[in-house]
Symmetry: C2
């Protein structure tokens, strides 16, 4: 896997710096520099709007409906999809310097630098630009999306004239229905549905601001966007505003002398709803704006830093010995936070709010990759994400009924909660998402010990999903419980019987549902659960079929998989990847080639179901056929590589997961960052090298340090405590930063932890046979001596 573009960023521990402007990487940088609090997302577009790859201002769960066409339809196919749309753009600030528009494509760009500061939570830009007429100005802007005031974003925009006096006109705008790049979609109905999706309802301008209210044509969602400004400049600054259907504009005019500055603080507020009236939304955003102005720019900055200081105290991961990885891991954790921090009972998408990739949809990524991280770093965000799942249960019940099943069938991809998958073999058939949600509940309850959450939220999700599995599977004549005709995580294999990942996750789902219902019998009773039903879950779990290939000594990913034809990797040149763009599904499905970790993910999530030797044999087998055409793969391979003693390989995979967006390894970062890979980065460190596992309600570590690194330190929250673990050569230190004394296990041995840090020796890995990847698909070797 090689980067498709030169890396546009420097390596620094706490910031991401773009030291110069490169038009080839504009889209990637927009995504990496996207600011979000999970509620509002602003892509890292330039203040003046152009040049850009994808203009983007997103609001969580704000989407338009679009037709889903089929050449040949089928019962139960969703008829319409949901697509995230670029809403009213409030980050636009245009500048006119003596009649010359400030546009980096013209004139001379003498300096350009942008910095994403992971501790400040800001994106800062510094530009020195000579207009085609030779006028030199310095522009400095700082942008933030508030983590403390979730409806608010703000920009501080400063202009200084460097050479000679100049007349400046700044137009700070709200723009709805921005012109977008053409979609790669040949269906004119889709294009029509998503072109100019916002219908104007109301506009108003004040002296120094404006408000625009729109609604979407088909999904009937209403959005209000408002801006207000503070202007600081020399005497005689003129400030006026105007508005019309799709534009609000505040115009600031002044003449600056060299050394003088014009400073504009722009406050932005967004509100949206499917139900609230126009006046209600209007008042809501003006109230948010008033609060932001009351807090002031400096106040917002201070709140932001405090929020992040608190976060990083737990969340920081220190990597000594690899500065690039150090930076990447922090960027990853930062973006996971941004995606979930204030999502608050709305969905966390696969791209967060950083781009329009995957139509802005939420998949299993959230529960399997993000939530295990958030449960340990920002537990309320994880709880809210699961509360969102609970809130869409009515749609999941309805979908299950449509499919002839009991319980809940959660959508494979959605924004609002309806199934939006247009290809059922890799959508509806991927029922594992239901067990993934149950697993996120289990992990969250284990990580937080939150019994109220378990009773009020977790239980209903566990019961609804257990009922699904009970109806989806059946006992065969030999008494085994089989789950046939489903698709596991590996999207290069579909509609198979007894996918091991699915069956193991369903097994756990059934067990945990029964156990949880037993612990909360009254609440379970209200859901109609009785002892017979709980017994039927336990029975199904106990007799769950897990196919095993006795000849090869490995688990087939699904029934018969190991009998399939091998893929001809030697004759698959690099340009044929990702395979799904160059090979028909039928060929992928019938051969032994895995897009991504599937059985290996089963090992990660159900280590109790495998012996150490099985883990090793399975890992070696699937390493040889896994091409990592999905960014959900490397982080999982990192974990299991670490567990099976392949520390150098684990390190390579960790770096691949961590660098996917900074180095644009998948070549598509411009459509948004890969939140799951970023979350998986944390998991690769903590579960992989930290060997962290939750078992029997406790927490355990099996720390290992890859030879290339000299120290790894990570923190996490554990049932009301804050814990820090440091892995050094030969030893690991456990420190209770806050909270009551606790017990954990180190390499299987109990360890009581109170105020005093505890240091324990690391048991070195046994040497293992090296494993091989498919021809040409080894990760970039990062470890020394490679």
């Amino acid at each position: 896997m090689s980067p498709d573009t030169a890396r546009p960023f420097t390596v620094e521990p706490w910031v991401v710096r773009e030291p110069r402007l490169d038009l080839d990487t504009v889209g990637q940088v927009e995504s990496v520099f996207a600011l979000s609090n999970g509620h509002i997302g602003l892509r890292g577009n330039l203040d003046e709007g152009e040049p850009n790859a994808w203009p983007g201002t997103y609001l969580n769960s704000f989407y338009e409906r679009r037709p889903l066409p089929y050449a040949e339809g089928g019962y139960g196919y969703p008829e319409s999809g949901q697509t995230i749309i670029n809403v009213t753009n409030g980050k636009l600030i245009r500048l006119l310097v003596e009649d010359e528009p400030f546009d980096l494509r013209y004139g001379e760009l003498r300096r350009h630098e942008r910095v994403l500061d992971l501790r400040a939570g800001t994106l800062t830009r510094e530009v020195e630009w000579a207009s085609p007429a030779g006028r030199v100005v310095a522009v400095r802007s700082t942008r933030m999306v508030s983590l403390t005031q979730r409806a608010v974003a703000a920009i501080c925009y400063e202009v200084e004239v460097l050479d000679a006096p100049a007349l400046l006109v700044v137009q700070s705008e709200l723009v709805a229905n921005e012109q977008m790049p053409a979609r790669n979609d040949d269906d004119p109905r889709v294009e029509a549905a998503l072109t100019d999706p916002l219908v104007a309802e109301q506009y108003r301008a004040d002296e120094a601001g404006a408000i625009l209210i729109h609604h979407t044509r088909r999904s009937a969602l209403r959005v209000a966007a408002a801006m207000d400004h503070e202007v600081h400049g020399p005497d005689g600054v003129s400030v006026s505003s105007e508005a019309s259907d799709d534009i609000g504009r505040t115009t600031v005019i002044t003449r600056l002398q060299p050394g003088q500055k014009l400073r504009i603080i722009k406050y932005l507020a967004y509100g949206w709803s499917a139900r609230r009236s126009q006046p209600a939304l209007h008042d809501q955003v003006r109230a948010a704006l008033a609060a932001a102005r009351y807090t002031g720019w400096e106040g917002l900055l201070a709140e932001q830093r405090q929020y992040l200081d608190d976060f990083w105290e737990t969340a920081d991961v220190e990597i000594d010995g690899d500065a690039e990885l150090q930076q990447a891991v922090r960027v990853a954790v930062f973006h996971v936070l941004q995606a979930g921090a204030r999502a608050e009972r709305r969905a966390i998408g696969a791209k967060g709010l950083t781009g329009e990739g995957y139509d802005g949809h939420t998949f299993w990524d959230t529960e399997t990759f993000c939530l295990p991280v958030l449960s340990h770093l920002a537990p309320e965000a994880a709880a809210d994400a699961l509360r969102w799942r609970q809130s869409i249960l009515p749609m999941a019940y309805e979908r299950a009924e449509q499919l002839g099943l009991s319980g809940a069938a959660f959508p494979w991809r959605t924004i609002r909660g309806h199934e939006c998958s247009g290809y059922w073999p890799a959508g509806t058939a991927a029922f594992h998402i239901n067990a993934d949600i149950a697993d996120a509940v289990r992990r969250h309850v284990a990580a937080t010990g939150d019994v109220d959450f378990e009773r009020e939220v977790g239980l209903e999700l566990l019961v609804a999903t257990a009922r699904l599995w009970r109806s989806l599977g059946h006992h065969d004549s030999a008494g085994q419980f089989r789950i046939d005709g489903v698709t596991g995580p590996d999207e290069y294999t579909a509609i198979v019987d007894n996918n091991v990942y699915t069956n193991l996750m369903a097994q756990q789902n059934l067990r945990v549902a029964a156990d949880t219902a037993a612990r909360h019998s009254r609440a379970a009773g209200r859901l109609g659960v009785n002892a017979e039903e709980m017994a039927s879950w336990r029975d199904a779990a106990k007799s769950m079929r897990i196919p095993y290939d006795e000849v090869l000594g490995v688990h087939p990913q699904s029934e018969g998989f190991t009998n399939h034809q091998g893929w001809d990797f030697e004759n698959t040149p690099p340009e044929k990847y990702p395979l799904l763009l160059h090979v028909p599904y039928f060929d992928l499905y019938r051969k032994q080639v895995s897009k991504q970790a599937d059985l290996v993910l089963a090992i990660q999530l159900r280590p109790d179901a495998f012996t150490t030797e099985q883990m090793q044999r399975n890992f070696a087998y699937y390493e040889a056929i896994t091409v990592r055409d999905s960014s959900l793969s490397a982080c999982t391979q990192a974990v299991v590589a670490a567990w099976t003693g392949h520390l150098d390989l684990a390190y390579d995979y960790l770096a691949e997961a961590a660098l996917v967006d900074l180095n644009n390894l998948a070549g598509n970062t411009e459509h948004g960052v890969h939140i799951a890979s970023m979350a998986g980065t944390w998991t690769a460190v903590v579960s992989g090298f930290g060997g962290m596992r939750l078992d029997n309600g406790g927490i355990a570590f099996d720390p290992q340090l890859p030879p290339a690194l000299s120290r790894i330190s990570f923190g996490l929250k554990w049932q009301g405590r804050q814990l820090r673990v440091e892995i050094r050569p030969g030893e690991a230190e456990y420190r209770l930063v806050s909270g009551p004394p606790m017990r954990l296990r180190h390499h299987g041995e109990p360890l009581a932890l109170a105020d005093a840090p505890q240091v324990r020796p690391i048991v070195a890995c046994e040497p293992v046979e090296p494993v091989e990847q498919p021809y040409g698909r080894a990760p970039n070797a990062r470890h020394p001596g490679s």
Copy 2:
């Protein structure tokens, strides 16, 4: 299976009579009364055009391209489809009686009768109608599509005034771009592509005729339609013609006295081409018209009857003891002839040229159901259909290459030869069509002994398909040759490993290709076949995996099938059928429910691969789970029921296959008749009750008479001979109608047949355990005592 509508036809041995007009059955009757020679098809629309269900004038392989949209696309998905279109309608003859348009919905219809005459090859209509003003006329029309002059159709239209003198105006027309009923398709692009598909190129009117030339917008096919008239009436008949872009009109005006008649002979000719120029086509249809006029109406009628007399001499099937079935079997054979007679290197569609169902596409139906019949009744038509397959080999080679395979991958559904399937699990994945084509070659060569055909046509088809199988399958580590990830005939199960039907058919394909290449080694050499390749085909055939369930003692339809969950038939009410309209594919695929014969079809086509006991056990097993949601099922179940001793059941299934359109059993006859079920009707008689099999180059019979019938007689061509077989209670008679002496086998015993008929006793069936169908899915019981 119950008829959806009252039967609109009387029961008579050689005609299909509609004794009155019923607007509810208009569509069904239009399909059953469709006239075709395989080249041109005219639906049985009323002369005056309205009322109608679907106006239809079709030309073989004349189609328009249409977009195939996908909610989520994939590599190798076809981007455009091909849809048969209603071309210039030349059967339209409107009548004005004293200012009142002749329209059966107004005035009083005193008599209405239409008769499809299976020996004359004509559709005759007799109407007596009183206009709203009280004028009474008798109209008699006879329509034919010539089996001898393939570009020609003709109509004799007679009007008589019964009560008082009346002024009559007859407008005989050619109409392009007729207004069609709305399609059940929510994609406006498809609607747009298929609305007014013909672009006018040229029009011209003569005194008593006109010509229109059009082309299609996207597929760029050119069509010329021309008409000419002979008018016979009292003196003073005025005849004039006019034409414009989309209409040609000959107007005949006369005043008739009671008892006087106006008689118009309308000659029609069609020509179409993707290559020929406008002048060339123009001349072509005028030449055809001239030839028709030269032959004259009586001449055309005489040729038609002679052609059919010759045909029926061999093809007639006599059924004593069931008049309805007798009629239905003849109708079935007639429609199979109509579909294929003059198709001449163009495709034979699933609906022939009788309707727009399935977009007019050709599937495996042709080779598996139709051609085995045509090879015995109209061998040149079968040979031409296979020559068509040969002609589309370049497209099939290209498709195979796109799919990463060797040899040829024939399209699952097509008109011109390109894959038009928009759902690959039930399209591209149904690779068995390639073996089905090979099997049709094998049967045709066996039936005709045509070595030239084998060398020039058959060999290339066999080699191309054998190469496909060799590359699609692979040897596993145990040395078995496996074909994974394909879909067999049963469309309620998809993307499976080692479908027994597919593997058995591929096995035979590989063997026959090797044997044929050995017989024609020079020709094979020109195709690049060498001894190594032939050996690799034989090896693969020899080690072909055929899964078998030792516990149940049956063949699983595909790997693991018998472990799947049973379908809950008891809780599936009749309105849930066909299941595919009420249940998602995922649920159908993972459970034991068969849309249609799959393993049972394997028994029919590869009886050599099963012991008698296996046949019986398999038949009983699959009877219990086969719902016959496909009309391709009953005929096959009839054959295997007869072979396994279930004679009454075989008789029920034969009737279901035979009556599918006359009784509208599938409820969709209005979209065209079910050619495969009609062909299968013959096969159910001849292979089922006749027990006819081709083995080792010879022909064998195992005759049985179902208790309800007193006699079955059928004829067939066999290697240049004409043979007739009569099954009577307790005995069978074999008669060589023409041709040199031959050998056959009767119940396994050799029998030499020369001039003298041979009578042999029938070995009575052993009594067998009755079999059961899914709840509510038993065929209508027809046998006495049921």
